[in-house]
Symmetry: D2
Subunit: 261 residues, 4 copies
């Protein structure tokens, strides 16, 4: 492990602690303390023992760990289970040019950067300055570098109506009123490109799909409306069963294809 | 559109037809014929009319379209909805070195190639020669190039026990008996790396997790057992509702982290 | 087994055949014939062999078997899985006085008769004569008696607006536009009584709950909006797993309590 | 409302309070106090105001309200959503003779009493004296009478192996090891009768179904293995969406038919 790296400690019950390693730093929790300098001597996959004798596993966090445990949220995020569906249903490919509006806390942005790769381009906009600032911090923390160094990303405060870039392969809208931006999306999305909208309530889904049917039927074709349920199982000796509770709802994913202008 | 490209035609009911464009070729279906040469004059997002007057939308297929509609299956595939979860839960990142055993029909392989990008490496093995041959054809068809040209991929007939490459960031097993390969995975997976196993039945999940608990508890820690349900909605004017039927089960995804050797 | 009784034959794959026993009758299917007279000599739980050597199990059908296999449908029915929820969420009790509008094919009616028992009362109405006639036949077939002999039931052609009976403990509406009958339900449902509405699409749920909020907030309080998913598992030797496909949607159940007039 | 009756008070957020009315009694909660004597002057469906000005709705509790809010649990109960499935899949009918082992806290017992009606018979046994005592109190509290007065019920401390009654129409086992009682069930269940087993973990399901296949294939035929998911929706003005979280698992319901002895 190196200074400045994100580190994940996991106890025997699967509880996770995520932080950045600093020389001289101290990690304190209800089971004692651990000196960062001690962690710096170790490697991923090894264990370390706290001052109160608790053994913890040292790991590099996955992006999912980071999003769920460390990302600072000032808005509802798109959860990893839903990101998985977006990557596949919006067909995010290496080298793609993707527009994301709005950025929110940057959870999906982080996955998009990864999915398009160095050859791709993610332009992520949010009309709220505080959102952009917060997302910037989250992204810089995950990548351990300044945002300017992430060449494939442009993050900026902007309303979707003001965007000037064009020819996007994919457009992803995490906005409360995507129906107000269909005209703009029509201009900036390539023919045959994919528009993916994320909406938490069902009347929004209706309003969006109705608007497309009535006013943009020559511009977009509905590919599908999806929701995803993830169920986790647990094992205690021979007692193998689904966990008692689960997330019942996050949002609906609506996929359109752009027709020729 | 260009000769040799994969093309997707979609009718007004959302029915999709996927094939490769060839000069002089003819696409025939129950609503008439369309000359490939006519399609070659068009662009994605445009429409074309068949000899019987049916209007079809011309699109470039997504990888999901290809997997669901064109990929030749000689085995049960991992479905796109589950691929989405694997990408996120196994944390497949740009530049990762990933081992996949077995290849099957190559559906997941195609997504892994995309996810690790040009900087990454996918080694995909299957002990059945026919599987490897079929997957090769599927991958070549999607990429429209010879498999040797896909530098990030190595596809070969091999039993997991025989593999010599090491230091994988992630190992994904789509095998009926992953518990028989834990020793091998322990050798080839990096410390802190992720092992993802895909299993269709619940007793397999039990056997795998039990084996890890009893014989490999110092080598692997269970991160979770997951299943994913995707529900699609439909809209007919104001009648917005989930579709009548859905896929109830494909498989269970079991995620482990490798501890230090 | 007795003449005139409903009988269920089940083959080794679980396929079910349901009919009424008649002296001299013949049951013919793709695996041969069976004489009703031979079945009449048997008892439930025994087996019988067809002319082509297929062994079938003889059973008395459950009400669920009858509803799924024999009930003649001239409308979408409420499925047994949903009936189970209605019985519990609408709190149908022995001795209750229940109004059902509309009857449809009588699937729920049959369960309501059973749930209120001989001391209870079910008044089931439908404005379509053909529905009433068909439901009558279905109910008579299940009970093997004339509908007049089922004292706890009144089945009639009537629009809900015309109903004169009052003081119902529970009202169950399987109508496309329940919001148009809230005034009437308010008059005929006891204070503290339960109104249960069954609706297939989500905009109907919105229209109903919105109407109650805006115009009947002093008359009804919303107790909940529910949907139920039933997943079936299969076992083939050690391969225990959920079945591949399932019913993804039937309808939404909306429960209200009546406030004092 | 009458003294000795169960009463349900519901606040504007849907929070419920359930208790028995007593002359001179006082109901105290975080929003003030309410005198039982004041409630006794009211009717169901009316409202009452607490000493701190909170308006509460007065209702008679449903059996579901009682089970979820008041029933004293000294064991895991079978939830109303699952009771609904048991009533339908085990085909509990008016007049049926039903054996329940074990009673637990009596949640299912209360529903069975209701479902078989006065003409039916429920024999409910549990080998633990404390379970029987607690269930007795719960049932007496719901019915507001001594258990001896509920003629259709026999509740007693007994191990299933010791039961002497026979000719049950239905047998319901909520035991950790139903496979140990198959021989006994075979003796006491009528030919063609239904055996329903409730099991929380999947290996229990396997052990039970495997045992029947291997040792009791001439006595029982498997009708199905079911699990039920109930999803609740919420409405806040136009924001209509499923609730965030839900119960992901309670148990598996396994249904068998008894063959001739």
């Amino acid at each position: 492990m190196k200074e400045g790296e994100l580190i994940l400690l996991e106890d025997k019950k699967g509880k996770k602690y995520l932080f950045t390693l600093k020389k001289g730093g101290v990690f304190a929790f209800h089971k004692g303390k651990i000196l960062h300098d001690e962690i710096l001597k170790k490697r991923a996959g090894q264990t370390i023992v706290s001052s109160k004798g608790e053994e913890l596993l040292i790991l590099k966090p996955t992006l999912r760990d980071f999003v769920l445990k460390k990302l600072k949220r000032i808005s509802q995020i798109i959860y990893p289970k839903d990101v998985g569906q977006i990557l596949v249903l919006a067909d995010i490919f290496e080298g793609a040019k993707v527009l994301e509006a709005g950025t929110g806390s940057g959870a999906l942005t982080l996955y998009l950067i990864r999915a398009v790769g160095e050859k791709g381009k993610v332009i992520s906009i949010d009309e709220r300055e505080d959102m952009v600032e917060n997302a910037k911090k989250n992204i810089e923390e995950f990548y351990q570098k300044r945002i300017e160094e992430i060449k494939s990303l442009t993050l900026k405060r902007q309303n979707l109506a003001e965007i000037e870039e064009k020819d996007f392969d994919r457009v992803i809208l995490d906005l409360p009123d995507p129906w107000n931006y269909l005209k703009k999306v029509k201009e900036v999305l390539k023919e045959g490109g994919i528009l993916a909208c994320w909406l938490p309530t069902i009347l929004q889904v209706f309003e969006l799909t109705e608007k497309v049917e009535k006013e943009f039927s020559k511009d977009f074709v509905l590919e599908g409306i999806f929701e995803t349920l993830q169920r986790e199982w647990q094992k205690r000796k021979i007692a193998l069963r689904p966990k008692d509770r689960m997330v019942a709802h996050t949002g609906f994913l609506i996929i359109f294809r752009k027709l020729k202008s």
